[in-house]
Assembly symmetry: C2
Homo-oligomer: 529 residues x 2
């Protein structure tokens, strides 16, 4: 039961000044979640009826921030006359330590009415999505509200116009780059295929052809390497926006990390919930990909949808449905979109993990005979399709133009120029130190490789340390259709730390990811590429 | 990018002992969320690739706990060789400070596969619900996973068998009381009507008749007072289970707080998310109410469903649908259920807030002429229906038996006995100190009271301080159908603190909650009670 702060006979009114608190930066990193720390004996805590984990608003002059309350019983962390903010929250608040601040119950964000209607299954309008995304970007949604929004808008809950509204709202939530050119091309893969580093080949090829391709990529979220992680082996990818602009002006392309550009920032907030939930809904995928590309100034986008039994999309009809949704939203957003459906039955290339994938990319660029032919072929195919965005190129000529650029060394030359411009790391792809611990996974019988599970291979490579440990990962020795003998090495796991190798090996014992059988069991190839 | 903890030429293997950390209790209250604190320079943090807010598992011998990671940059809070746990997490972990502990990536809880299927719209089976509820009760779900489950199972997403599975799983998640009697009665209201303190009248009446009624109640979640908050004005409600048992043995009843009994503990965890989302889905309502009652050992339950324009249920057909769902699940759980649909068009009684409601209850028990007649009448009606659970009572006789018990003073006598047994607070309902600040809300025109908004009245009373400040709240002077003159007092707001009164008055200015109009505008009374 509530105990008043003073005896009833000493019921002095509380003055406003008694509610002022001294701001303190608490050196605790709570990532995207703003946390405020109050001492349990703090007057306002005692009279305002806050609860731990309740949402409060901290105010100092014009500055205000909403945060989740943690109650502190240790005056060394926060004393009763102080108010603490977690590291990122302190930065976002933008007020210096020691300044006076007050705290009060946070008003619910203005858009929760719309959120509650969506939870109840209603269709929302454009204004609703803009209001919700503004509140998400502004940090006004708690993790709980954010999760509720993502689940209530996941698969099947939104019609195609609502997906367009959401995409449009996400573009409006951040900056929008202008390249002052009539054509800005980009490519994107919906993901799920380990080793699939085509961007690092496609970008120098199309730039060498003369197209403008200011490529920004993400780091791996659930995969063993993203394009940004792999490019980072070769060059600096953490570039300021004006640096990117000058590199693109000079070389027609870049291969940078997109995280600092404030493009569709709502997407980054949503990912903080999607990642732990392994949530990969069609709605979010479309809104996330298209909003990032449009905000980055793209006018033409080539989208790669791989299909296969362990890919994100499993059948051709599913891929067609997804394609039509992408096309509808892109057309509403005035983005020219080409969709390519590709073979996603197994990893692309040989290496899985940042350094191993960087090696594969460089071998393709150098026309090295050891280069993985599937990665080379797929990249030429995609680059060719992008080159055909060029109105001066005849339909069907793109592939041979791309191949000529690659075989002549012009793609390699352009890649070197981009690496130098971004800041070369001096990575020697023919002589680098792989993870000092390794384990060979061998065939348990004679036969043919009939299946490779993308998800299991990705999981093992991640447990081995990729992408955090750049020289960890998997080197694949046999692909679909290869004949193997019992004891042949299927792939080698590389790790830097004993516990990482142990976790990866334990996962291997559950399932190696490989299916080996007789020639007669070859599944009917449901796709021709 | 990842920076190895040592130069490549000093690649000494890391010994297992280097991963041991000294356990520390961090005096930060994060309520139901377990938080673990690691210093950014801690070896395991640097090599394991944890991220702030990622889910980790802390292990010491047989003890383990999953928690959300906060990264600390201040060695005074946590040094690199320590591992900290937030207050409640430290208690739950059950290991003493200074003991050695390790931290690792938390495995996803076993039931997330089922959770992901539900998010994708699949129907789940009994085993799935049991697995999910076990993980929720065990604290293995993050706030994000918990929210995802609640939204994915909210209105319309579960069929009636799934609601039964969920209810059954929630009962199985905690203790189940046994009273060794063939009939244990209880009553429950689905809520939403301010002032509706019938339990404190019904319980002493039915106990005086001889029925066993071990009533445990919740505190207010979103209302200005729960039964536990109001009873706490009169007596201690925070009772150990064996104390409750002995009171019930002696007096056939109690009026205690249910929070300590470990009954359907999953419900308490779910409420921590439902509350900030104002989520009140039918699914959760049914599973929550029935699981608590069945775990408390009830065999017979009377359920009150008020309907009205600002009640939770707005129409008779909606109430009937809800009734059938309750009846179906109750019958699967072998609970005898009677549903009463009641008038929820306005608050019940005169006072809103713990002390004001306690006053109303005592006036009814004392047959005081000032007692609110609607509260008296409704309580007699409900008590009568419960008395008819008694096979020796003729159908239709319950009301007059209840009235006789009340008018004879036997109900008051029983209430005094229960108060004494639980520990009387000595509250004088005819002479107590209301909040020292007050504000009268007056009629702005002559006319008749045509509408009173339950939600607005509840909101104003809460802003005034109820239930945290027990002498705050609202005293109602006019109810539906009353004729008023311009300037007549409609209700008085009581508050203890200036800021509380200010917030309540600001809310009043938006809307007083009262609609006053002409006699000719009287809405057709859609319900007769």
């Amino acid at each position: 039961m509530y105990v008043p702060p003073a005896a009833p006979d000493a019921r002095a009114p509380i003055s406003d000044e008694q509610l002022d608190l001294k701001l303190k930066r608490v050196a605790i990193d709570t990532n995207l979640e703003n946390v405020v720390y109050l001492n349990r004996d703090c007057l306002i805590y005692r009279i305002a009826g806050f609860q731990a984990l309740s949402k409060v608003e901290v105010v100092a002059g014009e500055h205000r921030i909403t945060a989740t309350l943690n109650v502190v019983d240790d005056a060394a962390i926060i004393s009763p006359d102080e108010i603490g903010l977690s590291e990122d929250a302190f930065k976002r608040f933008g007020v210096e330590a020691g300044a006076l601040a007050r705290v009060r119950h946070a008003e619910k964000p203005a858009s929760v009415g719309a959120l509650f209607r969506k939870i109840n299954g209603e269709r929302l309008e454009k204004d609703d999505y803009h209001a919700i995304v503004r509140d998400i970007t502004g940090g006004h949604y708690s993790k709980i509200e954010l999760t509720a929004f993502l689940i209530a808008t996941s698969n099947g809950e939104l019609d195609r116009d609502e997906i367009y509204f959401l995409t449009d709202a996400m573009v409006a939530s951040g900056r929008r780059l202008e390249w002052q050119e009539h054509m800005v091309v980009d490519k994107h893969c919906i993901g799920g295929i380990p080793g699939n580093r085509t961007s690092m080949l496609v970008v120098p090829i199309v730039a060498a052809h003369g197209l403008l391709c200011p490529k920004t990529s993400s780091r791996a979220i659930t995969s063993p390497a993203g394009t940004a992680d792999t490019m980072e082996v070769l060059a600096n990818v953490n570039l300021a926006q004006d640096r990117i602009a000058s590199i693109v002006r000079e070389h027609r392309a870049c291969l940078a990390w997109g995280g600092t550009a404030d493009l569709s920032p709502a997407d980054d907030v949503m990912i903080s919930v999607e990642r732990p939930l392994s949530l990969d809904s069609t709605t979010q995928m479309i809104a996330s990909i298209l909003s990032k590309k449009i905000a980055a100034g793209s006018t033409h986008l080539l989208l790669d949808i791989p299909i296969g039994p362990s890919a994100k999309v499993k059948t051709v009809p599913d891929a067609q449905r997804l394609r039509k949704l992408f096309e509808y939203v892109a057309s509403r957003m005035h983005l020219k979109l080409e969709v390519v459906i590709t073979d996603g039955r197994q990893p692309i290339g040989q290496g899985i993990g940042p350094m191993l994938e960087a090696r594969d990319v460089m071998r393709v660029l150098e026309n090295d005979p050891r280069a993985p032919q599937d990665l080379r072929h797929k990249s030429l195919n995609l680059a060719g399709r992008m080159i055909e965005f060029d109105p001066d190129v005849r339909g069907g000529d793109g592939y041979s133009i791309a191949r000529d650029i690659l075989e002549s060394g012009r793609a390699l030359h352009r890649m070197h120029a981009i690496i130098e411009a971004q800041g070369a790391k001096g990575f020697k792809h023919d002589n680098f130190m792989l993870g000092r611990l390794s384990h060979e996974v061998v065939a348990e019988r004679d036969g043919m490789v009939l299946g490779i599970d993308n998800l299991q291979i990705a999981k093992i490579a991640r447990l081995a340390g990729a992408p955090k440990v750049p020289n960890a990962g998997i080197d694949i020795m046999h692909k679909l259709g290869d004949r193997v003998k019992r004891g042949d090495t299927l792939y080698i796991i590389y790790a830097e730390f004993p516990s990482d190798l142990l976790f990866a090996m334990q996962q291997c014992e559950k399932a190696s990811g490989y299916t080996i059988g007789d020639d007669t069991e070859i599944p009917h190839s449901y796709l021709e590429f």
